[in-house]
């Protein structure tokens, strides 16, 4: 492991990916809660024509120049989506989808046109499509660090304002918060977080760095602070992990490696997170179903018993099966009732209520009556 730190390329790439992961994760958290996950997608695709235009206008291939172009066009794209959905009948998500494909298509046209020019200088712009982390140098790292730090500091500085406009915009407006400016600020920060990832991850996959860490983090916590922090950390871990994987495996590009890693986090979180994970929910549903079956059979037994003077009169499980054709009784449920002390087995086929079972059945019936008001 120590050897990695001596490897200049890996160190640079890992640091850059960690920082972009932090910023993208944190901003993605807010985008997710504001139901603007797709906004990141639109901004990153809009960056492509920005990169091409910046090159055409300046003739420079300096990342700072190209990323500035990406930021400008990405920002304009995001603001136009807002304007379009406000001033027309087009819905926000349709406007996003349109902006995304139109600008990306335009970017591809420009890129193809640039590559056809008889000038050898143009090579390399297409590396922004999927990112080329190995090309990162110290100066790029500085740009990423400075922008990433600013984005994270602004998040801390405007923490409660961002929380309120994300939760209840109208209320924020009534207490005098400049909701529109805060919106724009968040969008601007999102643009910045995306732009610093373009060299490493590329325009096509960058939106995953916005959405995925946030979606994974949301599964584990019900606290905003923890969620945003976790999203940032997951983004950073994916960044570093992707960089290491691609350096260990020649011919594995860094950007896709990062995105695959972050998808693993999402999958695990969706399945196994307590409370919100699918597995947990299944278990809870199964437990609730079992409790219902137990109650149903208990009540059936009680109904049978109440037809006899002696409430401990044994009853055949076949009768219970018939009665339970709706409530789903089974041998297993009867066994469970015995474990709980609510029923006892008289012989192979016959069962009876215990006094505890009788009492429990009565209180179940009482509850049902009460709940039906």
């Amino acid at each position: 492991m120590m050897g990695f730190l001596d490897d200049y390329t890996l160190r640079t790439v890992a640091l850059g990916a960690a920082l972009l992961g932090l910023a993208a994760g944190a901003l993605g958290g807010f985008a997710l809660l504001r139901r603007q996950s797709l906004l990141g997608d639109a901004i990153s695709h809009a960056a492509l024509p920005g990169i091409a235009l910046a090159f055409l206008l300046t003739g420079s291939k300096s990342p700072v120049v190209l990323l500035a172009g990406a930021a400008v066009v990405g920002w304009l794209g995001a603001v136009s989506v807002d304007k379009l959905s406000e001033s027309s009948r087009i819905k926000y998500d349709s406007a996003l989808g349109m902006m995304l494909s139109v600008l990306f298509g335009f970017g591809l046209v420009l890129l193809t046109w640039i590559q056809r020019q008889p000038d050898a200088n143009q090579a390399g712009l297409d590396s922004y499509l999927f990112g080329q982390a190995a090309a990162l140098v110290d100066r790029d790292l500085w740009v990423i660090s400075i922008i990433g730090t600013i984005v994270l500091l602004l998040t801390l500085l405007f923490w409660k304002e961002f929380k309120l406009v994300s939760f209840d915009r109208e209320f924020a407006h009534t207490i005098g918060m400049p909701v529109r400016y805060l919106d724009r600020l968040l969008t601007g920060m999102l643009v910045a977080a995306i732009v610093i990832g373009l060299q490493t991850v590329g325009v096509v996959l960058m939106s995953a760095m916005i959405i995925a860490p946030a979606a994974a983090a949301r599964q584990w916590t019900d606290r905003l602070g923890v969620m945003i922090m976790l999203a940032a950390v997951l983004g950073a871990i994916s960044g570093v992990g992707g960089a290491v994987v691609s350096s260990l495996q020649p011919n594995t590009p860094t950007g896709p490696a990062i995105v695959i890693l972050v998808s693993v986090f999402v999958t695990v979180s969706l399945l196994f997170a307590p409370h919100r994970g699918l597995v947990f929910r299944e278990i809870r549903a199964w437990k609730a179903g079992r409790a219902l079956r137990v109650e149903a059979v208990l009540v059936d037994l009680y109904a049978l018993a109440s037809q006899h003077a002696d409430s401990s009169h044994p009853h055949s499980d076949r009768v219970l099966d018939v009665m339970a054709s709706m409530s789903g009784a089974s041998r297993r449920t009867l066994q469970l009732l015995r474990t709980l002390g609510f029923a006892r087995q008289i012989d192979a086929r016959h069962w009876a209520l215990t006094p505890e079972g009788e009492q429990r059945a009565r209180s179940v019936l009482q509850e049902r009556k009460g709940g039906r008001v």
């Binding site: 309120l164 939760f167 207490i175």
Partner: protein
């Protein structure tokens, strides 16, 4: 009784008109609400009740009209107004807890770049106690019932300690406990000289809960003390032909 120098009118709305794409939603509405009064806004679905509140608060831009709150434009001093939006207007799966939502009512007072302190927390807990929710302070908001959500929103407005309150359908779909708590709260606010405007949908309880009422259906049909304007003729004009359910409400009033 109000102070000598207290303004006689809490809310003064003139010619308020709102249109969504050429279609008028509110047409030339005037309203004067004296201070220290509980006023209900009633009217059929689509009558513009919510739009009225939102236009008064500047959440939607009116095409025409003016609003004065305590003799001042609303923007001049927002701290004197509190707003309780419809409970369905936010995502209750947002990752936060009850106390945090109530604290949001203090964000205007706390100011930029600062975090809520111990005194703010104390005020929020007090407001929660007023709606009977103090033991829920640490509860995730996703685990609240509809009535509890409503009471959290009310606590957030209480902590603002405003003079004029606007509440959008606070009684919508709440349990009996919450309904009683809200009524008690309204009376307490009135006793403290506050003015409360409530969008309300249950005609039967209007005479019992409120002092004044505005009957609204795009236009203002009538407004004033319940005993004067809550009449069969006015209700018929507000709700059109669907009057079968009105008689019960009137019977209540005349009882």
């Amino acid at each position: 009784m109000p102070h000598v120098d207290a303004p006689s009118l809490a809310i003064e709305v003139r010619d308020l008109t709102v249109a969504y794409r050429d279609k008028p939603v509110l047409w030339d509405v005037d309203l004067e609400v004296p201070a220290g009064v509980l006023l209900a806004i009633v009217g059929p679905n689509g009558a513009g009740k919510t739009t009225f509140i939102k236009a008064v608060l500047g959440l939607v831009d009116p095409a025409a009209g003016s609003v004065l709150i305590l003799d001042q434009p609303y923007r001049a001093d927002r701290s004197r107004v509190a707003y309780v939006p419809q409970r369905g207007s936010v995502d209750w799966d947002f990752p936060t807890n009850v106390l945090d939502v109530v604290l949001m009512g203090l964000y205007g007072r706390i100011g930029w770049f600062r975090r809520p302190g111990a005194n703010h927390r104390e005020a929020a807990l007090k407001a929660l106690a007023q709606v009977g929710m103090e033991s829920f302070a640490d509860r995730q908001i996703s685990q609240l019932s509809g009535g509890q959500q409503q009471r959290v929103f009310l606590a957030r407005a209480l902590v603002q300690d405003a003079e004029v309150y606007f509440m959008d359908e606070p009684f919508q779909g709440v349990d009996a406990t919450t309904e009683r708590a809200i009524v008690e709260l309204l009376r307490d606010l009135r006793a403290r000289g506050k003015t409360v405007v409530v969008v309300h949908h249950d005609l039967q309880t209007v005479p019992e809960y409120f002092d004044e009422v505005m009957l609204l259906n795009v236009r203002r049909i009538a407004a004033g003390p319940v005993s004067e304007v809550f009449s069969e003729d006015n209700l018929r004009e507000t709700y059109g032909g669907r009057v079968a359910f009105l008689s019960a409400a009137l019977a209540r009033k005349n009882a």
